[in-house]
Symmetry: C2
Subunit: 358 residues, 2 copies
Amino acid sequence: MPAPLANDLFLRALLREPTPRTPVWLMRQAGRYLPEYRATRARAGSFLGLCTNPDYACEVTLQPLARFPLDAAILFSDILTIPHALGLGLEFEAGEGPTLAHPVRTRADIDRLPTLDPERELRYVMDAVRLIRRELGGRVPLIGFAGSPWTVGTYVVEGGSSKNFARIKAMLYGSPAELHRLLEKLTQATIDYLNAQIRAGAQAVMVFDTWGGALSPAAYAEFSLAYMARIVQGLIREHDGQRVPAILFTKGVGGDQLALLAATGADAVGVDWCTDLNDARRAVAGKVALQGNLDPSVLYAPPAVIRAEVGRVLESFGQGSGHVFNLGHGIHPDVDPAHAGAMVAAVHELSPAYHRGS
Amino acid sequence: MPAPLANDLFLRALLREPTPRTPVWLMRQAGRYLPEYRATRARAGSFLGLCTNPDYACEVTLQPLARFPLDAAILFSDILTIPHALGLGLEFEAGEGPTLAHPVRTRADIDRLPTLDPERELRYVMDAVRLIRRELGGRVPLIGFAGSPWTVGTYVVEGGSSKNFARIKAMLYGSPAELHRLLEKLTQATIDYLNAQIRAGAQAVMVFDTWGGALSPAAYAEFSLAYMARIVQGLIREHDGQRVPAILFTKGVGGDQLALLAATGADAVGVDWCTDLNDARRAVAGKVALQGNLDPSVLYAPPAVIRAEVGRVLESFGQGSGHVFNLGHGIHPDVDPAHAGAMVAAVHELSPAYHRGS
């Protein structure tokens, strides 16, 4: 049995249990805004070199915890590990974003995709999870993650980043059965991948649906949400005698979609900064915890302003449990680390007032 | 007095008057997806050369009308004509997007901005409007337009396109009084600019708020919506004995913001494809007409699929007047023009069923 957690605020908030304050972490907290991250990245030689080496992945995962009193660690990895393991030729070119040399566009391409064994093809991720858990020594919980099938699918079909999603939307509208076939395969791979992370030691898991907001409401429900719901249904929900909470996050959707996400059986739903947390809380009607939602660009402002904006987010969620403080999307690479620290400090300082009844 | 309009469906729909079918036009209908546009652009030598020459601007404005039975023409221009006229050093580099050599970042920069006389510094736009009106000969109405102060402000402060809006958001959160000072100046320039377009012959005007959706709800209300509301209040609402409808469009906002837009006094509100039109119609509660909202990427699909998706949009708005069919954002440059034609044809064919009571 692993050591009991010294700080389980994050897990308790996800399960909407009382906590003395609001827990806090930052999406992309292990990342380019930290000089120590850039130093490790330089030693690794490349972004993929960083992801695929468990020692480096562990090192950068722990870096933000040494700076800030964060309530969770998140595995350093990428949402494109599955396409990488599927042999689609993932590369990260400097300043370019990811490319896949072998995009998946035909029925034959889809049928050719292999079935993954995460402990074999994605062993480096599981080794990183095991190593991070050991190094954390129960200080805070470790979050595992994956991209949503739709979001990963956009890269798999387009062959990289995309502005208009021309090819996958042509497939979505013109050959929906083929896109469903691809998304089913990605969904099964994602379930197996996240369950392997849980078995390796991830204490909560999060699904990042970065591009679900590019879809119409009908297309979102059919091509993104439905597959995230299947992932939630397929996850191990208890491990080592502990509930393993699942968080779903679609960037760029509002109240109606948040209500659908809350109905999937997930424990928590991420909210970007374009929806007020009080509206989000009303939309999910007590079914899930909420995670978010400071505009990441607030961190460009001076610390006193950051503190005031943290206060607005806390006030918007209001009294009671079930809130994990976070940004509404990943921290920008050009943010001053001291400003991230100001955000974390403000949550520590201001949030107890919202948990007086706990 | 100008010739009476042969086709006034668009204006009537904006005023929620009965029409026998739903009028249709496409955002960016005069644009790169048309080979004849690319030919004129090549003759003009540059994008700015195209915008600043009334003959070229007129030529490309009319091109889509020669191909498709559209119910409105929209002035060919750019939302950055005002920064150009303010002397901020606008350039469009090939494949790069716009840049401004002299961004506005300090109080001194803001105070130095000159007051514009649109008939002098933006004379080329007014000449284009007059020429297009003459060439249209009353076939369909002409739409004038401008960018919203917030959206134009993002370029003015950042010095070009932006991903995270680092500088303007640092100003928004850190020095809000200065940003308000800039937005006030841009608002007055925009009112004068749109009124000059109306005097020159624009029969409806539209304000494009491309980046309002990047703001939190509170910041949107304060820094984007409030200035669009002031524009609506400052517009000439009747010219040559005709009501001049005003359309506001913020990309990337949902029902709550649509309700705020509807309360500004605008005649119509644009809706992107991420909100269902029936939800939008409920949100605006009969106060305005709606314009939209087919996902522009549907035009990558085959014509039969386009037709079906047009049907879904019409059905989503439902019975009655007050709907102008459009895409939910500008047409993508790599779309087959025949697919735009399929969309327009489908609106002509399928929409009369929604106007039986008219």
